[in-house]
């Protein structure tokens, strides 16, 4: 399908586009970001510096960027997909290179006003390319082995690069988001069943072989897996963090301990309280009501995205919106699971709330694409 198919006469032009933005979605985004500012103000002990003020500036830049992207027709972004993907892969390779010469794991590129992590950008670039790929691919070919293998390569190349940084969290996120994109595009169930069965079999084999002569991993690797699966077996390391996080969350109770009254965060029992564990501070200070409110806001964002995607007759737009929504979902689902002790600790921020430039910028770019698809949808 090409842009020639878009009925241009139905698409708003010029400043009128602003009226066709998905405004509820934009307001939800601002609302979530404001919760983030509030929490950053709180964890800094009631101060805009060092986090809240910077975060507000970044959000402002990101929000404007989102609107600008939304104004650009969606078919332009589809045409940019391969370029964005290739460019981000190159950046990942570049980071790998400078990281090596720098003598340490360096994951970012200095843009002057912020440090950009190519691995974050890849989360959107991958979704963009897969959406474009399945838009281009005739539907009949979707489940043919070759045309299944190609997107797998597209997913695995950046995953491998990210994994070598090493950044397990992002790698898993890329893999999952890519898989979900393939699922949405209509790849046959049997492929997913096979992959899932294969993974299940491998995991079973790894665990069953433990302690036997033919065990698949070294002993220290098993011990790492143990800690990964059961943080309490390492009470002073990861286990300490997760325990303190759970205590903070649980002690919030129904109504919370009050703004800036969270003892766990104020007294530094919480690790990374301004980034990955910021949700615990929210849950501690505003309780179940505060935590569930944020979850509802996130849920509404997902619902608005899905509604927008399903009402859009353009395959690329639908896939793109659902991909961005899925990426967004994976962010907060993994983060919340982690701080509630449902998942192992991996470095995934709470989207739009955690302090950090790259993730926020990338998500706002993603939402810019969603808005663009919404504005330029077939009517």
């Amino acid at each position: 399908m090409s842009y020639l198919e878009y009925s241009v006469k139905y698409v708003p032009s010029g400043l009128r586009k602003v009226l066709y933005l998905n405004w509820p979605l934009a307001f939800l985004i601002v609302a979530v970001a404001c919760i983030g500012f509030l929490m950053l103000y709180s964890v800094a002990g009631g101060s805009y510096s060092p986090w809240a003020d910077t975060q507000i500036k970044r959000f402002a830049v990101g929000f404007v960027l989102m609107l600008v992207i939304a104004m650009v027709p969606i078919w332009f972004w589809r045409n940019m997909a391969l370029l964005a993907y290739a460019g981000t892969v190159l950046l990942l390779v570049a980071v790998e290179f400078t990281g090596a010469t720098g003598g340490g794991a360096q994951r970012w590129i200095d843009l002057g006003f912020m440090r950009l992590q190519p691995s974050e950008a890849m989360k959107i670039a991958l979704v963009l390319l897969l959406a474009a790929y399945y838009d281009w691919l005739p539907i009949q070919k979707t489940s043919r082995p070759f045309w299944v293998l190609l997107p797998i390569v597209i997913i695995l190349v950046p995953t491998a690069l990210v994994l070598s940084q090493p950044d397990l969290g992002t790698a898993v996120l890329l893999l999952t988001a890519g898989g979900i994109m393939m699922f949405l595009a209509g790849v046959h169930w049997a492929y997913f069943a096979t992959v899932l069965a294969g993974i299940g079999g491998l995991v079973t084999a790894v665990f069953l072989s433990r302690g036997t002569d033919w065990q698949l991993l070294k002993d220290y690797q098993y011990r790492r897996i143990d800690t990964f699966l059961d943080p309490s077996s390492d009470p002073l390391g990861a286990g300490y963090h997760i325990t303190q996080s759970k205590i903070a969350l649980g002690s919030g109770g129904w109504g919370g301990r009050g703004f800036m009254q969270g003892t766990q965060s104020r007294l530094n029992f919480l690790p990374e309280k301004h980034t990955d564990f910021i949700f615990t501070t929210l849950a501690e200070e505003f309780g179940f009501l505060g935590a569930i409110s944020l979850l509802v806001l996130y849920g509404l964002i997902i619902v608005f995205c899905i509604t927008s995607a399903l009402s859009n007759r353009d395959r690329f737009s639908s896939l793109l919106i659902l991909g961005v929504a899925t990426t967004f979902f994976l962010f907060f689902a993994v983060n919340m699971s982690m701080v509630m002790g449902l998942a192992p600790v991996v470095g995934v921020p709470l989207p739009l709330v955690s302090y950090g430039g790259s993730a926020m910028l990338i998500l706002l770019i993603g939402f810019g694409l969603v808005q663009s698809a919404h504005v330029h949808r077939l009517r």
Binding site: M1, S2, E5, P138, I139, I180, F183, L184, A185, G186, Q244, K246, I247, A248, L249, G250, S251, G252, G253, W254, T263, Q264, L267, N268, F269, A283, G287, F288, A291, I292, L295, Y298, G299, I302, V303, I306, A309, L310, R313, R315, S318, L319, L322, A325, T326, F329, A333, M336, S337, M340, L342
Partner: protein, 647 residues
């Protein structure tokens, strides 16, 4: 390329279906997250709240101020003074080594201090570590001024014990020290207070015996700490109760005099109020400075005290027992009188010895006293008279009388290791030595030798009881927390007053009759005359070998084998106010070394200051004048207030 409308429709349907599946799955997972939140924050909230409070709230004990100890006139014997120390909070010190270097430029820091601080900072990274203890206020100021250069270093203040009078009350008040494992072992469940770092408990003397009164009750405060254990703020506090103040019966002026008068002799003296049993002075020499123990005595200093053969650490007044020698004769005499087996005019002929079942018991006067009546027997301390009396009266009556007079029993004075002494009986000997009592034991006991053993305190009590006829018992603590303690006036002893009068008259003669053994140490001031009794207790017999070599006199023996010299007296003789006992270890004869000390102490106690010289016989006055001047100088020198702080 173009795509058929059918194509697009299929694709749209597929995306719709799978999009809805995905959306459903996502919402379902969010439901799981919400349920998990509800479980943790609503159902288990209380448990988590408890854990959060456990995290942040520490309960700290506030050590109570220890009760002070005063003398009977309100002079402080044991006090609390602020004690400053320099501590560091490890997490705030960037570089411990560098910090210690900076600090050593500001205040004296020994290599030992450095080592300890480094070790402690590694061992307990989360708690404040004491770098130097007992620094002066000047050092504290210097650290405060240099605070910017010393991050994480701060002065702290606590209370520490100090004994302003130094050595004078070492054996009475004792001293405190840091809690040791032995202190903890005394409790089945040691009070948490004892776990406070640097908490002080009584180790010896009144400090130890009345620990429970002096200690007080700890307060508690709840503090909020951060993840590194640092106190952020105090949440609330419950004040404890400071320990009760004690007032002793001791008069520090008199105690100071007695201590000075005993000097470096291995000796002890007790002054007891005949009316109330108040211990006006209870001194043991040589003594030591209790402040050294509070600060942590050096190994060398402690070794010197421990190995000194005059035993400065012993409270000889209550803890050491001596054969009372001839001071015991009053007990034997009273036993005989009460039994009606001897009268004032009955005489015994002393030939210098008495032969009993083939064994010769000698009188101290080898030539013998000739015919001896009751008064003369005591005045000249004839032993044979008492040998004879013992045969008639028997050990049961003698021991019973000794007990009535306060010998052979503990008096419950709150000083360390009070001994009961021994007032021997047949059963006692059998159970102790597994041997039967023989007549010779009774004979020896009659003159306070053999198995009889008494403490200087008991001798003073005995003398007070003879002087008053009442069961005076010693009292060391006058008030606790302002409440007057029961006096030791005691009930009448139920002794025949005529018998007591006979004994008192004889004791008067000891000190005032020209032939009395203590005549040389008499007082001539009217109304202040003393009635006393000398005693000499053998440490060991002179061996036949030594006798052959010509050693017959005590002075020829090495110090540690010389006899103990004892003297007991009460005064004034006609209206007894005080009773005094003096024991000079290895001092030779009671009349020569103990009686003069007892006389000086008696006069000092009665006058409340240096007595006028005309209270003394003319020939002694010059000597006494020199002695008074000397002691005055000695006491002035020792009156410097002790300092717990580092110089």
């Amino acid at each position: 390329m173009r795509r058929s409308p059918r194509d697009t429709a299929i694709s749209a349907r597929r995306i719709s279906r799978r999009g809805l599946i995905l959306g459903g799955a996502q919402l379902a997972f969010m439901g799981v997250l919400g349920a998990r939140m509800r479980k943790m924050q609503v159902e288990e909230a209380d448990a988590f709240r408890l854990l959060a409070d456990e995290n942040r709230i520490n309960i700290r004990l506030i050590p109570p101020a220890r009760g002070q100890i005063f003398d009977r006139n309100g002079v402080v014997i044991a006090d609390n003074e602020p004690s400053y120390r320099i501590v560091m909070v490890r997490e705030d010190v960037p570089d411990v080594e560098a910090m210690l270097d900076t600090l050593s430029g500001i205040l004296p820091l020994s290599d030992e201090d450095r080592e300890r601080a480094l070790k402690a900072s590694r061992a307990t990274p989360l708690l404040p570590v004491t770098i130097v203890d007992r620094v002066t206020w000047d050092d504290v100021s210097r650290v405060a001024v240099n605070a910017p250069a010393l991050p994480g270093v701060a002065p702290e203040v606590g209370l520490s014990r100090i004994y302003p009078l130094g050595p004078e009350f070492a054996h009475v008040a004792g001293y405190v020290g840091p809690v040791s494992d032995r202190d903890l072992a005394r409790y089945e469940d040691p009070p948490p207070l004892l776990r406070i770092p640097r908490f002080q408990v009584g180790k010896v003397g009144v400090e130890a015996q009345l620990e429970s009164v002096l200690r007080g009750v700890a307060g508690t405060k709840r503090v909020e700490v951060n993840n590194t254990g640092r106190v952020m703020r105090e949440l609330d506090r419950t004040e404890g109760t400071p320990g009760a103040d004690l007032q002793l019966t001791v008069d520090h002026q008199l105690q100071s005099y007695v201590q000075a008068r005993l000097g470096e002799e291995s000796a002890s003296a007790v002054v007891i109020d005949c009316e109330t049993g108040d211990l006006l002075a209870i001194a043991s020499s040589p003594t030591y400075d209790p402040n050294k123990f509070v600060e942590g005595i050096s190994v060398a200093d402690y070794g010197a005290l421990r190995d000194n053969d005059r035993r400065p650490l012993a409270s000889k007044t209550v803890q050491d027992t001596y054969p009372p020698g001839s001071t015991f004769k009053m007990a034997t005499l009273l036993a005989g009188l009460e039994a009606g087996l001897v009268g004032p005019n009955d005489t015994v002929k002393c030939n210098g010895f008495l032969e009993i079942s083939g064994r010769k018991f000698h009188c101290w006067k080898r030539a013998g006293h000739g015919n001896v009546d009751l008064e003369r027997s005591l005045k000249e301390s004839c032993d044979v008279y008492y040998y004879d009396l013992a045969l008639k009266v028997g050990i049961e009556r003698i021991t019973a009388m000794a007990r009535r007079l306060g010998l052979g029993e503990r008096h419950g004075v709150p000083m360390s290791a009070e001994s009961a002494g021994v007032a021997p009986t047949r059963e006692w000997k059998r159970s102790r030595f597994g041997k039967d009592w023989v007549i010779g034991d009774s004979v020896n006991a009659s003159i306070g030798q053999g198995f009889v053993a008494t403490t200087p305190l008991q001798l003073a009590v005995m003398t007070a009881r003879i002087a008053t006829g009442r069961a005076v018992s010693p009292r060391l603590v006058k008030t606790v927390d302002g409440a007057e303690q029961p006096t030791g006036a005691g009930a009448p002893l139920d002794l025949n007053e005529n018998h007591l009068r006979l004994v008192r008259k004889a004791m008067y003669a000891v000190s005032n009759d020209r032939r009395g053994t203590a005549y040389g140490s008499r007082v001539i001031a009217d109304g202040l005359r003393i009635a006393g009794k000398t005693g000499t207790s053998q440490v060991r017999n002179i061996t036949a070998e030594e006798r052959r070599r010509g050693v017959t006199r005590n002075e020829d023996l090495p110090w540690e084998r010389r006899d103990h010299a004892l003297f007991v007296n009460y005064a004034p003789a006609d209206a007894p106010k005080i009773a005094v006992s003096v024991v000079v270890e290895h001092g030779g004869g009671g009349s020569t070394s103990a009686a003069p000390i007892a006389r000086d102490i008696t006069l000092q106690a009665l006058y409340g200051e240096d007595p006028p010289l005309d209270a003394y016989p003319t020939k002694d006055r010059e000597k006494i004048r020199r002695q008074q001047a000397e002691l005055k100088k000695l006491r002035r020198d020792s009156e410097r207030p002790g300092s717990g702080n580092r110089a």
